[in-house]
Symmetry: C2
Subunit: 569 residues, 2 copies
């Protein structure tokens, strides 16, 4: 809902976006419903309840959104890709125009800084624009044509044309820690729209106002586009209704795929619903990731201070609430390692307390820390064990959620013998693991859980151990960063943001970058199809000039007569 | 094991392959083990037990095969792709050279004709050769390079290089109905080897001799190659051990992915094991498929006899035991439909009884038929209901398994109201569904279960209903065939052999064609990697000249300096 009346706060001519507390179904705010669960949220930096009240979507509203999405999908087949690209760009522009309002409310709801949110919004809009560029060239759909050979013996070779086709309505479960880049119009929603699928967003209860404003912007862009209104819905989800809204979406026959970013427990439970429905649907979950850093001896001796500074920032900034936060730092014992750990500790001690996203998240974080501290052989290098012990039990919802970074320290033996040290700690903490030698470090690498990313800090003399590490990490991480930290995901064509379980439930995909579009599609082959029944990008004429595999050769040409002629039967 | 001594049966100079009954682990036949379960199999065409005795792999042997595969994978990283391609070609040649022995034993074990098996072997070897060609060009790994931009503000753009990398050892569960194209060195095993993964085959108990001979050929080719012997193992699986061997393989930590072709029940049970192990692994199952044919009014009036003949052959040949057998035929009522059904019935009645693969499969087939016949509104058009009722209970293992084709007939109302009519009947049977009008036919299409393939027989006047049908089938089938039958899978670059559940558990993949290789891989991104730590196909030099996406543009060039220079850090 837009409001241009409030001229005191708003410069003339600027639209002001404010949340209404109502879900948006088929691009329209729903009428208030007296029987709905109402919820609110807190400013984690102060502990105070924010003024807005949000109405959780009812079961009927969930079903309406899904039915409308299906009808929209069914009726929008003829809308050309160029309109889809324009819609993505209009959404990007709308979000950029709404930046001030979005960031203001988002900072209140999440405790994240305006700088961080501004850069996150930049990533969100540039992702939308990148996807618009990508789909304008149909090549991403992987079109392939095998031309027929009627004279082949013993049987003629049929003409086969294959392409990725969209699955249908996609449900998106937003993340608490990236309220813009992973929520209403984050990478899951953007990639689904780009792939040609309608989107239903389940709003996140920790930033409902942010989610709704972004949804208002998207709805406005969809209404101004050739797409039916059912193309987009946003459902407020909170209070007692939160979980049920998720299940209802995943069980609805019109929902054909879903994306999730969140905890291992949440992702696993939702995956089970998607898997056990009568017609199982693809479900893509990004969950917990440990993102180890391996600081090799050469790298350490070359630039100990710089590495310590980079790692400290990656561990502590945004209270460590990033899916790529480095949770383990491996070093080989020695004088360089000792001074590196000292410097890392110094940097972390110098960082200010930062609010966590919610008391609940802070509580989980402190419990995890406490259980790690109880292990023999684990000690705190930064942080006071006395403050950590029992802290989670003392928390109350109405207090600020600030935490200072914590650094734990252990040795390889302890790491190798306690599985709990291999699991994510979601918060501003990391564990330094000292290894006796490079072989022991490689042995530790072999026990790393599936991760989104891993770092290797090295110099030229580390080549041999680096080769071994890269071989190991290639089986355990989606991205291997050299002489840099894992935080700060670059959105490009080559991006991989995924990894083996438990980082993701589908290690063959990425949540970020253009390959993410393929998650919402399925390859379909057309055999001896009349030209007028083929999708445009598979027709002889190749109107979009997209790169197609013709008899195994990539080419942007139309199908030449010499290739076997027209496949019409 | 080869035998050149038997000069009576074997032309001079020709190697003769005979099964020994022993599993092959790391390319070597294992020593006999007195404590092993021994099993045999029957010739289904006669019901007699075949003379060979096979020793089911023990738990230790399963583990040995998996461990050897892992060690082989770990040690074979430096072997160039050209050697991988050569291995595939050597296997293809070896199988072609062993054709006489393979087909002789296979015909005895399966009751399939020599002609059919010869064509199946041709498909098997041409698949191996196609995959060899595909991997010689590294483009299939989808390499992508985003060049760095150190001058970008506010932060430099890192260099990102992405490629698909192999997962590790793959377990292959062969199919009863395609003893060559889907078993020891069928499409799953061939694609895994092509992708750079070692293979462990669980032999199928209905054709153990065929499986073992094929495995002997593969082992000989691997031994003559630069690959370690652990690259390939074949485990005899039968008797009480059959299921356990499957679970043990899927639970083994060294097995990193698996492929299965078989029943819905079997696939679902195995998928559960792969999913619930501590580190879940990808599991690709091809299961049951109904493969509907839609004969539209125009198509029907144009060529009723030809369509009836093609469909009859697709339904009845090889006792209907093909995953692409058309299980449903939809027509719109009218005089053309009546004479078409008559002709289809005539053709089916004229087909000879054909042996099914095993008494167990025949029993399931007859039970399914009986349950369908019990539905009100379903009647037999071809086949005697009295013979079908109770037949499954009267079967005994020592009798020939021959069955004649059966055609059931019903109307759209009955089809729409009975889910069991939407499910596969594995055997030489199909159901004709008469619809009142094209709209009703489209409504039926909307209830089709996920299928590998669907057929549409049409003429130009059917365009409008065909468009609607194609839209529906694009969501329900992996391949849509126009004016042709679904049987006879063409193996080309554009092949899709997959489909939504229950046809497959992963509708985004294909079991046949080069895209099948991607199932055994995962994308990995390297950020700011030194050139010498990158896989060759991602290095600046692009030694294989493969097509890479450089900053979004496909090119076969090396990375030019103008693109941002060398990414070494």
């Amino acid at each position: 809902m837009t409001d241009t009346s409030d001229t005191t706060d708003t410069p003339p001519g600027r639209v002001r976006w404010i949340p209404t507390g109502r879900s948006i179904i088929a691009c329209k705010p729903i009428e208030p419903d007296a029987n709905t669960v109402v919820f609110s949220t807190r400013n984690p930096a102060t502990g105070t309840v924010l003024p807005s009240r949000f109405q959780a979507a009812t079961r009927v509203q969930v079903s309406d959104a899904a039915n409308e999405a299906w009808r929209a999908f069914d009726s929008a087949r003829a809308i050309p890709t160029s309109d889809r690209a324009e819609l993505l760009r209009a959404i990007a522009q709308g979000l950029a125009d709404a930046e001030d309002d979005l960031i203001q409310i988002c900072a209140q709801e999440t405790g994240l800084t305006e700088d961080r949110l501004s850069s996150e919004l930049g990533r969100t809009t540039s992702t939308l624009r990148l996807f618009a560029d990508v789909i304008e060239d149909g090549s991403w759909q992987r079109p392939a044509i095998d031309t027929p050979d009627p004279s082949r013996k013993p049987s003629p070779r049929p003409g086969l044309r294959r392409m990725l086709l969209p699955l249908g309505p996609v449900a998106v479960f937003g993340a608490s820690n990236f309220p813009l880049a992973y929520s209403t119009m984050g990478t899951d929603a953007a990639s689904a729209l780009a792939a040609g699928c309608p989107v239903i967003v389940k709003g996140h209860p920790l930033h409902p106002g942010t989610g709704e404003i972004a949804a208002q912007v998207v709805a406005e862009a969809v209404r101004a586009s050739p797409f039916p209104n059912g193309w987009f819905s946003f459902l407020h989800a909170g209070g007692d209704r939160e979980r049920d809204i998720g299940s209802e979406l995943l069980e609805h026959p019109c929902v054909r795929a879903a994306g999730f970013t969140g905890s291992l427990g949440g992702g696993t439970a939702l995956a089970e619903i998607a898997r056990t429905r009568p017609d199982p649907i693809p479900f893509f979950a990004e969950m917990g990731s440990i993102n180890p850093a391996f600081v090799l001896p050469g790298g350490l001796s070359k630039e100990p201070v710089g590495i310590a500074q980079h790692l400290a920032r990656a561990i502590g900034q945004y209270a460590g609430q990033q899916c790529t936060c480095p949770g383990l730092v491996f070093v080989v014992k020695g004088s360089h390692a000792a001074s590196f750990i000292e410097r890392l500790a110094l940097e972390l001690r110098g960082m200010p307390p930062t609010p966590m996203l919610a008391a609940r998240i802070r509580k989980n974080y402190l419990s995890r820390l406490e259980s790690l501290l109880a292990l023999p052989g684990v000690r705190t290098e930064v942080g006071d064990p006395k403050e950590i012990r029992g802290a989670s039990a003392r928390l109350s919802d109405d207090k600020p959620t600030h935490e200072k970074p914590v650094l734990l320290r252990t040795n390889a033996d302890t790491f190798l013998s306690h599985d709990t040290l291999h699991e994510e700690v979601f918060g501003p903490a990391s564990i330094v693991v000292e290894c006796e030698n490079p072989a022991e470090l490689a042995r530790c690498a072999g026990l790393i859980q599936g991760s989104l990313a891993a770092s290797v800090f090295l110099a030229s003399q580390d080549l041999s151990i680096a080769e071994e590490l890269v071989a190991i990490l290639s089986l355990r991480a989606g991205r291997i960063v050299f002489n840099g930290v894992t935080t700060g995901v670059e959105v490009g064509h080559a991006t991989v943001h995924g990894g083996p379980f438990p980082a993701c439930n589908r290690s063959d995909t990425t949540a970020v970058g253009p390959m993410a579009l393929e998650r919402w599609c399925r390859p379909v082959a057309f055999q001896n199809a009349p030209g007028n029944l083929l999708p445009p990008d598979l027709r002889d004429e190749n109107p979009g000039g997209c790169l197609r595999l013709i008899d195994g050769e990539p080419t942007r040409d139309r199908v030449a007569a010499s290739k076997g002629g027209h496949p019409d039967s």
